[in-house]
Amino acid sequence: MDKFKDLDPLLHSQLRLAVVSLLLSVESAEFVFIKEKTGATAGNLSVQLDKLNTAGYIIIEKSFKGKKPLTTCKITKKGIDAFEQYVINLKQYINK
C-alpha cells in the first residue's frame, strides 16, 4: 500500500471514512443514526468513534433521552480540515 502513504491513515478506513463523511453533512447525529447509515455493528462503530474522538476529529457527547443513554457525535474543525486534506490527496491519485 505504498502509494497511499500520504492518505491520512485515520480516515483511510472504510468505517471511519464513512462516519466522517456522514458527520460532515449534518450538524450532529446520534449513534443509532450513524449505525443505521453505515451498516456497522454497534461494537465496531464504538471502537472507531473512540479513535476519531481521541484524534480530535469528532466530539462525542453522552447524555440521556428519558432513561436511555444517548450518544451524539459532531465533527470538529480539525476533523473537517483532515477530511478536506484527505479528499485533496485522493484527487491527486485519481488524476495521476
Partner: protein
C-alpha cells in the same frame, strides 16, 4: 461493513464519501404538519372574519383569531417532541427552524403595532409569509412550496389594493395555494418516500 479487512481503493474511498453524503442529504425534516395545521386554522379564521364582517353586526369579528392560540400550543408541544425524537440534526433543518422563529418575531411586532400601519395586517403578514415559505421551499427543494411562496407575494399586492374586508378572502386563498396545497403534496411525497 467490515472495516480494515477489505482493502480500500481510491474508487472505494470516493464511493463511501459519495454514499454517506447522499445518505445525510435528504434528512431535512420534510414535515407537512405545520403547513397543514396553520393552513387550516388561518383559512378558517380568515373566512370567519370575512363572514362576520360582511354578514353580521357583531362588533368584534377579530374574535375568530383566538383559534390560533390552541394551534400555537399544539405546535409548540409537537415541535418539542419532534426535536427530541430526531436522531440527526442538520444545518438546513436548524436554518428552517430559525426562519420561522424570525417570522414569528416579525409577526408579533406587526400585531403589536397594527394601529400604526393602519390595520393593514393581512398584506403585511402575507409578505412575511411569502419570504418564509419561499425560503422553506428552497431548503426542502420542493417546487410547490416555492410557487406557494411567490403566490403569497402576488396575493399580498392584491390585498394591498383591496378593501379591508376582501383582504380576508384573499388571505384565505393565499393560504390554500401557499400552505394547504403544497402541504398535502409534501405529505403525499413523505408517505411515498
Amino acid at each position: 461493513m467490515d472495516i480494515d479487512k477489505e482493502q480500500l481503493t481510491n474508487e472505494k474511498s470516493l464511493e463511501i464519501i459519495t454514499n454517506m453524503i447522499a445518505a445525510a442529504k435528504g434528512k431535512v425534516d420534510k414535515n407537512s404538519f405545520y403547513f397543514l395545521l396553520w393552513g387550516w386554522v388561518c383559512v378558517l379564521a380568515n373566512i370567519g372574519h370575512y363572514y362576520i364582517l360582511k354578514f353580521t353586526d357583531y362588533p368584534e369579528p377579530q374574535i375568530v383569531w383566538v383559534i390560533t392560540i390552541p394551534a400555537a400550543i399544539v405546535s409548540a408541544i409537537y415541535g418539542y417532541f419532534q426535536r427530541k425524537r430526531a436522531s440527526v440534526k442538520t444545518h438546513l433543518g436548524t436554518i428552517a427552524f430559525w426562519i420561522w422563529m424570525a417570522f414569528l418575531i416579525s409577526l408579533v411586532l406587526i400585531l403589536i403595532f397594527a394601529h400604526r400601519i393602519n390595520y393593514q395586517i393581512n398584506p403585511m403578514i402575507m409578505i412575511l409569509t411569502a419570504s418564509a415559505t419561499f425560503i422553506s421551499g428552497i431548503i426542502l427543494r420542493f417546487k410547490p412550496l416555492i410557487i406557494g411562496g411567490i403566490l403569497f407575494w402576488v396575493f399580498a399586492v392584491l390585498a394591498l389594493l383591496s378593501s379591508l374586508e376582501y383582504q380576508y378572502l384573499i388571505g384565505a386563498i393565499a393560504l390554500i395555494t401557499g400552505y394547504l396545497i403544497p402541504g398535502y403534496m409534501l405529505k403525499k411525497r413523505a408517505n411515498n418516500g
